[in-house]
């Protein structure tokens, strides 16, 4: 059983890292700040959750699972909130400093 879990975990983590890299590429090359925010929040929510889930499978211990789930929730939450706040302050001001 643990071998299967190990492989699933690695698969999930690989998808998470690939998503993170694509989001980083998006932040790098997308034209406007708001579209970059769009890419960033994907990295925060989806990318990191996959990595945390995969790590929990690979690690297998319960306390690690709790820490990782809390990590994923925190990053997703602050990513979403920060995305909203930056966009709100950026759009309301509307001209690049």
């Amino acid at each position: 059983m643990s071998a299967v879990l190990y492989v699933i975990g690695l698969g999930l983590m690989t998808c998470g890292v690939v998503l993170l890299l694509i989001a980083a590429l998006g932040v790098w090359s997308l034209p406007s700040a708001v579209s970059r925010l769009h890419a960033l929040t994907k990295a925060d929510s989806a990318g990191l959750s996959l990595i945390a889930l995969g790590a929990a499978c690979v690690n297998g211990r319960l306390d690690a699972l709790l820490a990782l789930v809390l990590c994923a929730v925190l990053v997703a939450l602050s990513g979403a909130t920060m995305g909203h706040l930056i966009a709100r302050s950026h759009v309301s001001e509307d001209e690049p400093e």
């Binding site: 690979v58 690690a64 602050s78 920060m82 930056i86 400093e97």
Partner: protein, 83 residues
């Protein structure tokens, strides 16, 4: 072996925030780069932590995750102070 490769991948994602930091026309882009670097660091810590089973790394990842918003908040909240 794969875990080392994944750690390299997350580190590259963290360092990929640098071009945005240098080019970023507006200050919001730079804060964006900091947020991406923060997420990348948390991901790197998680990948490193799974490798050698130390729980200390997950606590560091937790601390980063909880405090990743503070710098961005400081920028958004205190931005008007300048004008």
């Amino acid at each position: 072996m794969i875990l080392d490769l994944l750690a390299l991948g997350t580190l590259v994602a963290t360092l990929a925030a640098l071009p945005r930091l240098i080019l970023g026309p507006t200050a919001a882009d730079r804060i964006l780069a900091a947020q991406l670097a923060g997420t990348g660091t948390v991901a790197t810590l998680i990948v490193l932590g799974t490798g050698e089973d130390t729980r200390g790394l997950f606590d560091t990842a937790l601390v980063f995750a909880a405090l990743s918003a503070v710098t961005g908040l400081a920028f958004v909240a205190l931005r008007k102070a300048r004008s």
